[in-house]
Chain length 363, copies 2
């Protein structure tokens, strides 16, 4: 299929990825790391996936000011407007508004795909086909399309989209009218959602035309619309700082998707994970006969089971594991963590303890 | 007490330390490593201990040819005769004969202390006093004195010395006639040895005059005596290689101590360990309230017990451990091993597997 020159992609790359400590740090968050052990960072994987969907120069990456160098290093030769720096973190609604404002100056007829930078897609061909179907659909209908991923377990960390069969569309199109969004439901509710068959996971990937996007912002987030859609190439950094410091911090989901009545879900089948936790990485990784997911590293295991290993992808380092069952072993260049998988939420405590000691040592 | 200018020390520093993999390797064995986490290698600790007993220039280190640079780097400004290179490993009897031959050219009246380079001594003042007592004793009697360490567990990896009360010496001198040497007894025998009160561990530290040493070699190891005592400063490397390649590989214990009838044991109380295994290092290390021995490294433990940690002594590396009980965590610059303490004999398999893979990868 031919690539449409009006198709644009906004990649949101401003996350902190703090759950992947010690590999992901504030100064080098998950999107810049080869979390999957495939030789490319999550951002590189995302960018190269979208290069098959829209022209390279139509991919715009929005990130924190401190990450601009990382983006340009990982994706070389980007044009100036392709890397947009945010002076402050204000969640996804301002981020997308900023990118859309810049794109509107170049291509007022743009169709926009909005995507996180750090999620995993397992069947790229299906993904491309689904996105293309969504792009074609929003050319015909004034819809916001969100891509839903089939839930495979009652995960309480995801957002759930409830949908109805759409009366006027063939079922084969997998397009449905969204009824509700529910963020991070309790486990019992998540179980009911899955049993009902009416819910899909919210992948955080949206497709809409620029016109529909502007209308949605103007209707549901008028303050953001007013300030952000006046931004352009000529906006000074000081003005951008002022706009960000004064604007509301709100997600697209809360700000628009939960309110708009033209949101449709494309129930996709490309295999998706936000890979937000060590355990979700374990889930999506190849496991050997002992249940070990050796994502990266030169690793020797003996009587070791159900263990996730993520080492710096540098074969000069060797790891030997004997007698572990159900652990995470993860290392950055300077820190190695061994933690039971069931206790992975402790990484916040670990990172805070380690940082505190560094502060004290440096005093 | 004044240091006697005829007191010499031979430090045997040719071991491979293979049980301490991955920290100790053939190219950097245990004696050159800060195994105890005190800021000095085992060899440096040993050398500096003997500097308090004999003149610095009377300390001679015998090592493998490939380790001469390591010795000179760790103990700077040694005179040429103070580092003797062995072309081949032939156990301790040839090693000591070589050093004694060189020393005899400088000081025919020498008293020789023979010591391993990689054992731990816990009460240095007592050690110095015991060695000095032995030195004084062999100035008066034609004895070979071996220093015995009080056994504190039925360790099957040690040599045991059986002794009788000496009829002609006050008990306070702690000097006894040796009856038998038993290397590495079965566990039941070791238990009986300890229960009897007649056995001490063989520390591998001997004290004897040069004359007594020569006589012992001439009597029990005449072939070694003949070739080695003709060696001197002028011996070429080729001649040394020939001598070593033709000589028997035999320990002082097997070759002399088990046969000579003038061996006496000084039952010492300085606290000793050969620190030959990870578990013996755990035994001799300070343990925190959870039973963890954090020998070195910037380590954070959570719900972790009875675990030995030895990391490179470089505070830029951090280790976080959660939920381990009874493990060894040991790292060199390029390899980290996690292994249950009860399975530490597997290190031979680990090292061989890792080396094999390196060979295959480099093909």
């Amino acid at each position: 299929m031919q690539i449409n020159k009006h198709t644009w992609c906004i990649i949101m790359a401003g996350g902190l990825g703090s759950r992947f400590w010690p590999i992901s740090r504030t100064d080098n968050p998950k999107q810049f790391i080869d979390v999957m052990g495939v030789g490319q960072s999550m951002l590189q994987l995302t960018f190269h996936r979208f290069e098959k969907i829209c022209p390279r120069q139509n991919i715009v990456i929005v990130t924190g000011d401190q990450y601009v160098d990382s983006v340009r290093e990982q994706i070389p030769s980007l044009l100036p407007y392709q890397v947009l720096a945010e002076p402050l973190r204000r969640n996804t609604a301002p981020c997308v508004a900023y990118a859309a404002a810049i794109i509107s100056q170049i291509d007022p007829e743009a169709t926009l795909i909005v995507s996180p930078s750090d999620h995993a897609i397992f069947h790229e061909e299906k993904f491309i086909a689904d996105i293309q179907q969504a792009v074609q659909t929003v050319a015909l209908r004034q819809w916001i399309i969100t891509l839903g991923a089939q839930p495979i377990r009652p995960d309480t960390s995801y957002g759930y989209i409830q949908f109805n069969e759409h009366p006027s569309l063939p079922r084969a199109l997998n397009l449905h009218k969204v009824v509700t969004f529910t963020e991070k439901p309790p486990i019992e509710m998540a179980r009911q959602f899955i049993a009902s068959g009416e819910f899909y996971w919210n992948s955080g990937i949206f497709v809409w035309s620029l016109a529909v996007l502007r209308k949605a912002y103007e209707t549901y987030l008028p303050a953001i619309a007013e300030t952000f859609f006046s931004l352009g190439f000529g906006t000074s950094w000081e003005d951008l700082e002022r706009v960000y410091s004064q604007c509301e911090s709100i997600s697209i989901d809360n700000g628009i998707m939960e309110k708009a009545d033209n949101v449709h879900v494309l129930t996709a089948s490309f295999g998706w994970s936000d890979v937000e936790t060590w355990d979700s990485l374990y889930d999506v990784s190849h496991r050997d006969k002992d249940g070990n997911a050796i994502v990266s590293g030169n690793v020797f295991t003996y009587d070791t089971h159900n263990t996730l290993v993520v080492m710096p992808n540098d074969n000069s380092k060797t790891l030997v594991l004997e007698g572990l069952d159900g652990y995470i072993v993860a290392a950055s260049d300077d820190t190695l963590m061994i933690c039971r998988r069931k206790n992975e939420e402790l990484v916040f405590r670990f990172s805070s303890d380690v940082e505190l000691k560094k502060l004290i040592d440096n005093k």
